[in-house]
Symmetry: D2
Subunit: 327 residues, 4 copies
Amino acid sequence: MFGKWKLGACLPTFASCADRYCLSGYGRGGKTMEEMLAMAKKVEGLDGLELVGNWHINDENIAKVTRLFKDFGFAIPMIVPDLWTQEKWGRGSLAAADPATRKAAVAEVKKCMDWAAEAGCPTVDVWPGQDGFEYTFQADYTDAWKWLRDGVAECAAHSKKVKVLLEYKLREPRGHCFLNSAAKTILLLQGIGNTGCLLDVGHSLAAGENMAEAAALLADHKLLDYIHLNDNSRSWDDDMIFASVHASEHLELVYWLLRTGYAGWLTLDIFPYREEKIPAASESFAWVRAMITRIEKRGLPAVGEIVRRGEGTDSVRLVRELLMGGS
Amino acid sequence: MFGKWKLGACLPTFASCADRYCLSGYGRGGKTMEEMLAMAKKVEGLDGLELVGNWHINDENIAKVTRLFKDFGFAIPMIVPDLWTQEKWGRGSLAAADPATRKAAVAEVKKCMDWAAEAGCPTVDVWPGQDGFEYTFQADYTDAWKWLRDGVAECAAHSKKVKVLLEYKLREPRGHCFLNSAAKTILLLQGIGNTGCLLDVGHSLAAGENMAEAAALLADHKLLDYIHLNDNSRSWDDDMIFASVHASEHLELVYWLLRTGYAGWLTLDIFPYREEKIPAASESFAWVRAMITRIEKRGLPAVGEIVRRGEGTDSVRLVRELLMGGS
Amino acid sequence: MFGKWKLGACLPTFASCADRYCLSGYGRGGKTMEEMLAMAKKVEGLDGLELVGNWHINDENIAKVTRLFKDFGFAIPMIVPDLWTQEKWGRGSLAAADPATRKAAVAEVKKCMDWAAEAGCPTVDVWPGQDGFEYTFQADYTDAWKWLRDGVAECAAHSKKVKVLLEYKLREPRGHCFLNSAAKTILLLQGIGNTGCLLDVGHSLAAGENMAEAAALLADHKLLDYIHLNDNSRSWDDDMIFASVHASEHLELVYWLLRTGYAGWLTLDIFPYREEKIPAASESFAWVRAMITRIEKRGLPAVGEIVRRGEGTDSVRLVRELLMGGS
Amino acid sequence: MFGKWKLGACLPTFASCADRYCLSGYGRGGKTMEEMLAMAKKVEGLDGLELVGNWHINDENIAKVTRLFKDFGFAIPMIVPDLWTQEKWGRGSLAAADPATRKAAVAEVKKCMDWAAEAGCPTVDVWPGQDGFEYTFQADYTDAWKWLRDGVAECAAHSKKVKVLLEYKLREPRGHCFLNSAAKTILLLQGIGNTGCLLDVGHSLAAGENMAEAAALLADHKLLDYIHLNDNSRSWDDDMIFASVHASEHLELVYWLLRTGYAGWLTLDIFPYREEKIPAASESFAWVRAMITRIEKRGLPAVGEIVRRGEGTDSVRLVRELLMGGS
């Protein structure tokens, strides 16, 4: 916890972190869930961990996993249906051209919703990362968008106990993903109840958005339900330590989260390939805490006055004062 | 004309083309409108020219200008309110923090709508290029979005004779523009009648969109009203000759325009800084004609079959066959 | 063969093609080398295949592998030392801060040079992809550059029979790689004999270079020894089918290869994740052949005359005529 | 002055700041040099101002200008030959295909060197921003590079009193510039005496370089002679307030300037389009001072120890501690 915020992390933060060249990962592989939870316990203030469906939680282990989380004092804020780690989703999941694949994807999400309900987890994260295309003339955009929407609607109707959040991303694993911006996510979800948006701030950055603007737009549409924190080089979803590259933008994001009254989880989605996992997670939260503290000390009204004024130099001075202190 | 399509150009295509260093422009400056129309007349198949309000058409010259266009046999498909060439719009127009500026911007658009009605021009192009920000903490995204929407709504209600089209762009002249994607444009226009979207395909490219996907999304929302053609390096709105950089993407765009039944203008918005203007415009249309011809020859159903299949290699082969012929 | 050019492919073109999410790959895994060579044999005109040291060729199998290649009628144009698939290289290879790692990296390259000499392969491809950094304040640029240079020099001195080629790349697997441009490669190699450059044209694109300009610069320094062909979205090394995205740039590249008298291999380095491997490779060569044929038909002098003229519209018209024919 | 550093600014910082849409500029135009110097005098610690040849200093006014600078207590650290504001340079200056243009460009540089010698200014800044291309097949890279080099060599030989610095940039005003990276600048200058490099850190950023790495490479080659400070969005040379976007990278840059013993000018090249000029310049220097102070307080050896260690989390923690204090 930090103030009203709950602090979370994706479980793979503590795994081996592979890339397409080093498939066995840069960290130690083969850790058990107990080992990863024990590592996570060393991250000060951590309240819960996201799980990927089938890989981390499934029919066989759900009782054991929920007990394990209880023993460690961790919540499960999110279960993520696996629509992206297997060859069968390579040409799409909810928006695949193949109807059987679409059906299987919907079933996968529903299964995760059931596990979530059973495990006391309020949300699932539908990330249609395999729904997209690489080449021109390779996708029927109109059909794909309709299929994606229909699939989400069917999932959302499955259970009132678990809310279906959509996570957008510009690209990767597909060369281009269909659901690639905050605005498109809002469009997709219009008229479908029991849904919301998971804003991965690195996805927003890499999509060419301003993160704070994306958060504000989602909040204005009552769709800002969950946040993933990380940073990147803008050209790729590097899943780096929070605020390590774009401190000014992240500071502004924190201001808008405070201002819009966001009260959900702040969950790390970092990939510390070559770093020790516990310090990498802790360092991310150190930035989060420092930024929240500085903005709260200055006060939302004082910051808001400068934001409304719109004078560039004053805005830059504010950033310098918030980050570096002094005047 | 080319088939059912009307071919247009922005009048500045034939002007001097300045940039921030060479403010007098790389081409000959000071041309009269007669001179520019005479140049435009040499572009084969050109049906009309866009005008910028105040600069090209105003209370003093409207009778003369409409007569001139009639004499030359040109239509005026679009009048563009000048919300971006004067210092007074530097901190915003329809979404400026200053209420008086917002009011002036609405008045400017209405004035252009009146001129359009008088000149028999069916649409105005509202491009809020000065509505945005450079720095973090410099914009109240929620307020700005509301102001932009309110302003557009007020303009759209002004006259039924002239439709208000919105043109989005990621950036420039502002470091970041609020109206920066097809999806945000759709969101903005929801519930406001008498409006539509002007898709500048280079703006779409530079915003990280796939142009054909943007066109399909707009068409699905019945908002694809007008097209600006050009090309660029993706990192900036270079306003280059059509298809000179991204031939595959432009070819796919043309397919989607044909498939969605787009029947409006194909208007060049190129800035041939260092090129002779007439050949630069003609070369753009040569690409347009060649691409339409090739796709129509292959046939929409045959292309559509490959699009639906979603096999990357087949899609690339299609592009090669459409562009280079043979198999 | 195609004219004077030998056509090659990296062996992994025919493997399962994994990414960081789908670690088992999108294609069928576990193929034997015989199976992959049999697949490669179906790619018309293919003359040889690159091998990765240790994975594909090693002390145990070198006799068998060379015989196998002979039986299939394939050359081995390149052996690539594995400096990037194992956790031990995660913090660098030739330029690692750890001296023992640097020493091991040099030994790895030398071992590959020995295998190359034994297998009749004239070159090794040193790709220092793990030599770089993710974060600010994480690298001593001066030390790293010196270590990289010293390591290359030691390798180059190991054997006169095998030439050491350096392959540059902007990023991936590291967030930033030290050896990231043609010009830096030229600087690095100055004064070291028995070395050259492997130009991966997709790396050049993704590094923000113009591929043809990079090829010309390397050729002017007598360092253009080998070419990897592919294409990408400019923001990442997507290893897509040749010319599928940037047909104009690839056409210009082909012109400069012809003009500078490049007479080496044209080797595919594509990752057809979701595509059938044989058609993806064949389609790439279909573009190569079509482009060479068109340029040779037009004639180098005729193209060169337009290049020297420097008039943009003429250059675009040339591209259209070369690609689409007619005038 | 700040410590051993002299603080400078380009004179246009205080001018009207136009872009291609708002050609009269967003600030007040038509200021006299006296007015601009009086404005500059209000920027605390400012030691000198760069001038553009012909525009600001010429045969007619040189006596008056040098006296004016003396009266205001300002040095002239740099004169910039105007090779980019007039239509005549539109197709190139030192590397133009037209020999007469190349000759005129060399003469322009020499003239500025003479004025510099007379005014006690030690360096001229040759920025070949018009030397490049927009389209494929529009440039003979080999010829252009040779012409550029020959022109620089001829200028450098003109006078021993004034050093010729080259400023690289990826693009703008040309779509692609030939001299576009630190490494290419080093290559170009090899074997030509009396030359060096002006590192505009925003040009480095926008070229995809790491600024600190570029500075280190130039310093290792004894070519880091002068620095332009600003910041941008990476996709364009926005000439924003120093460190306003990339605080971490700028902090690292400052460390490398300190570490390599850079002792030259720190000159602002910002374009405060919509900002008051004096506060925008002052705010830039406030960041510079704060960053130098923090690094010197921590100490170069302590920072260097972390840099050499190469552990990402430690590097990020260092940035946080340097920027935000505490631990």
